[in-house]
C-alpha cells in the first residue's frame, strides 16, 4: 500500500537565523512500520517532525507522503494523511471542551455532523476517555490530557501517526497505558522520545540523529543495546537492559 509511505530525500533545513538544523536527511518509512527517533537535545528531532506535516518546508530536498510531494499547496492534503501529536497537551488541546477539541479536525475536513459525532466517540473510546467527552481540558489530569491529545489526532483517521514525547511527564501507570495505546494502532507510527524504554516497547525500527544527520538506522533492539553508540549521542541503555547490581546488593 504505497499511500502509507513517508520518504525524506536529502532534506536540509536552515532556520532564518542561519542555524542549519537538518543536514541531508534521507529515509523511507513503509506501511505499518513503527519507527523511533532518538538523539540528544538539539539534535534536530523536533525540526524533523515539523517537516512531516509541512509546518516547516525543506530548504532543499524532498518530502513525499504516499504519492504526494510536500509543497506549499499540498499541505492540506499532507495534513490529512499525517497526524502530529505535539509534546505538550496544553498546546494540543485548545478548544473549550474535549468534544469540541476532538471534533475540530473532522469538522475542518468538512465531514457532516453525524459522522463527526461518530468519529469523536470512536476516537475517545479507543483511548479510553469516552467519559471525559464534556469536560473542559483544564479539569483533566496529565494522563487524561495525553490520551485526549492522541484522540484529537486519530479522529482525523490519518495514515501516519507522528508523536513527540507522547509520555513525557506522565506517571508510570499513565505512561504504561499510553504505550498500550500506541501498540494497539495499526498505523504507521513515528515516535520521537528520550524515553528509550518506550521506544523499545513500541517501535521495531530506530533512527539516531546527531547534528541534523542520521547516524544510525536499524532494528530498535539492536540500536538500543549498542551502549557505545548511545553514549556518543548523550543517551544511555534503556533501563530494562541495564543490570542493577547495587540494588540487588542492597536487598541481600
Amino acid at each position: 500500500m504505497s499511500h502509507h509511505l513517508l520518504e525524506f530525500k536529502d532534506v536540509r533545513f536552515r532556520y532564518p537565523d542561519g542555524t542549519e538544523a537538518l543536514k541531508g536527511i534521507t529515509f523511507l518509512i513503509t506501511h505499518g512500520e513503527s519507527v523511533g527517533i532518538v538523539g540528544a537535545n538539539g539534535a534536530g528531532k523536533s525540526t524533523l517532525l515539523l517537516h512531516m506535516n509541512g509546518y516547516l518546508l525543506p530548504t532543499s530536498g524532498f518530502v513525499t507522503v504516499g504519492e504526494v510531494p510536500l509543497r506549499k499547496e499540498t499541505r492540506p492534503e499532507i495534513r490529512r494523511k499525517v497526524g502530529v501529536v505535539f509534546q505538550n497537551p496544553d498546546d494540543q488541546l485548545f478548544m473549550p471542551t474535549v468534544f469540541d477539541d476532538v471534533a475540530f479536525g473532522p469538522l475542518n475536513l468538512g465531514l457532516p455532523p453525524d459522522r463527526v459525532r461518530e468519529r469523536v466517540h470512536e476516537a475517545l473510546r479507543r483511548v479510553n476517555a469516552l467519559a471525559l467527552v464534556d469536560k473542559p481540558p483544564h479539569h483533566l489530569s496529565g494522563g487524561q490530557k495525553s490520551a485526549v491529545a492522541i484522540a484529537t489526532v486519530i479522529s482525523m483517521e490519518p495514515d501516519i501517526l507522528v508523536m513527540d514525547e507522547p509520555a513525557a511527564s506522565l506517571d508510570p501507570k499513565s505512561r504504561r497505558s499510553v504505550i498500550g495505546l500506541l501498540n494497539s494502532f495499526a498505523h504507521s507510527k513515528i515516535v520521537a522520545s528520550h524515553d528509550l524504554d518506550l521506544i523499545l516497547d513500541v517501535c521495531a525500527r530506530c533512527l539516531v540523529i546527531r547534528d541534523g544527520a542520521i547516524v544510525a538506522d536499524g532494528p530498535a533492539p539492536e540500536i538500543l543495546s549498542d551502549a557505545t553508540l548511545l553514549a556518543e549521542n548523550n543517551l544511555e541503555l534503556p533501563l530494562t537492559l541495564q543490570g542493577r547490581p547495587a540494588l540487588e546488593g542492597a536487598r541481600r
Partner: protein
C-alpha cells in the same frame, strides 16, 4: 488577597458552573437574556429608590437556591468587589444634604438614601452576574452570545481566553513561586524583578501561541473555528425568560412593598 486564593476563587466558580441542576440545564441564551433584563430593570430605578428594589432580591436568591450555589461564596465575592460601589457613592451624603422623611418622625439626609440605593443596585447586579457565571459554563455563555448575534471572531477570542486563562495563571504562579523561594526578604520582590517576570511570561505566551497555532494547522485549521452545537430553545427556557421578565416588569412598575403595606393596613385597619 494573594494570587493563589484569587485563582482558587476563579477555579471554584468554574467548577460550580459544571454542576447539573434545573438552573444549569436552562439554555445559556435564556439565562443571558433574563440576567440582562434583570440588570436593566434594576439600574433603571431612580436614585432615591431603595424599598422598591428589595423584591428583586428574590431572583438571585431563587437562582442560587435552585442552582445549588453556596450563598456564602457569592456573598463573599460581592463584598470583595464592593469597595468600588462604596467609592462611587460615599460622597453622596455630603453633597446631597436634602432631608427626606422615611418613616413618621424619622428623617435622614437624601444622600444617605441614594448611597443605599447604589449599594443595593450594586449587590443585585453583581450577584446576578456572578450567579449567571456560576450556573452556566463559560463555553455555554459564549455559544449563547454567538447565537444572540455576537461576531464569531469575538466568541473565538473569548473561548481561547477561557481555555488559556488557567494555563497562564498556573504558569505565572510557578514563576512567582520560583522567585519567592530565592528572594529572601524584600530583595527580589521589587518592581524591577516584577517587570522581568511579566516579560518572561509574555515571551512564553508568544511561544505557546505559536505552538498552539501549529497544532491548529496540523488539524486542518483554515481561519474559522468550527462548531456543531445546535441547541434548540425548549418550552421551559421560554417560560423561564417570560416568568422572569414579567416578574421584573411587575416589580419595576408597581411599587410592590408599598402595595403589600397598604394591603396589610387595609386588613388591619
Amino acid at each position: 488577597m494573594s494570587f493563589e486564593t484569587a485563582y482558587s476563587g476563579i477555579g471554584r466558580l468554574d467548577r460550580l458552573s459544571y454542576r447539573d441542576t434545573v438552573v444549569h440545564r436552562l439554555d445559556p441564551r435564556a439565562k443571558v437574556a433574563a440576567t440582562s433584563l434583570f440588570v436593566v430593570a434594576v439600574v433603571s430605578f431612580p436614585r432615591y429608590e431603595v424599598l422598591s428594589l428589595l423584591p428583586f432580591f428574590l431572583f438571585p436568591v431563587l437562582i442560587g437556591a435552585l442552582g445549588d450555589i453556596p450563598a456564602g461564596f457569592i456573598v463573599k465575592k460581592v463584598v470583595a468587589v464592593s469597595p468600588f460601589a462604596v467609592f462611587v457613592g460615599i460622597f453622596n451624603p455630603l453633597f446631597d444634604p436634602g432631608v427626606v422623611t422615611i418613616a413618621p418622625g424619622v428623617a435622614v439626609s437624601a444622600g444617605w438614601i441614594s448611597f443605599a440605593s447604589i449599594l443595593v443596585k450594586f449587590a443585585l447586579t453583581i450577584g446576578a452576574a456572578l450567579l449567571l457565571i456560576a450556573t452556566t459554563s463559560f463555553p455555554g455563555i459564549c455559544r449563547g452570545l454567538r447565537r444572540l448575534g455576537l461576531p464569531a471572531l469575538f466568541v473565538s477570542q473569548l473561548l481561547f481566553l477561557y481555555r488559556y486563562l488557567f494555563v497562564l495563571i498556573e504558569e505565572a504562579m510557578r514563576v512567582v513561586r520560583a522567585r519567592d523561594m530565592r528572594s529572601f526578604g524584600k530583595r527580589g520582590a521589587g518592581v524591577r524583578v516584577f517587570i522581568r517576570v511579566v516579560g518572561t511570561l509574555f515571551l512564553r505566551t508568544v511561544e505557546r501561541a505559536e505552538r498552539i497555532y501549529g497544532a491548529m494547522l496540523a488539524r486542518g485549521f483554515r481561519g474559522e473555528v468550527p462548531s456543531m452545537r445546535r441547541e434548540t430553545l425548549r418550552p421551559s427556557d421560554a417560560f423561564f425568560v417570560l416568568a422572569a421578565g414579567s416578574f421584573f416588569a411587575l416589580c419595576r412598575f408597581v411599587p410592590v412593598p408599598q402595595a403589600i403595606g397598604r394591603l396589610v393596613r387595609g386588613f388591619t385597619g
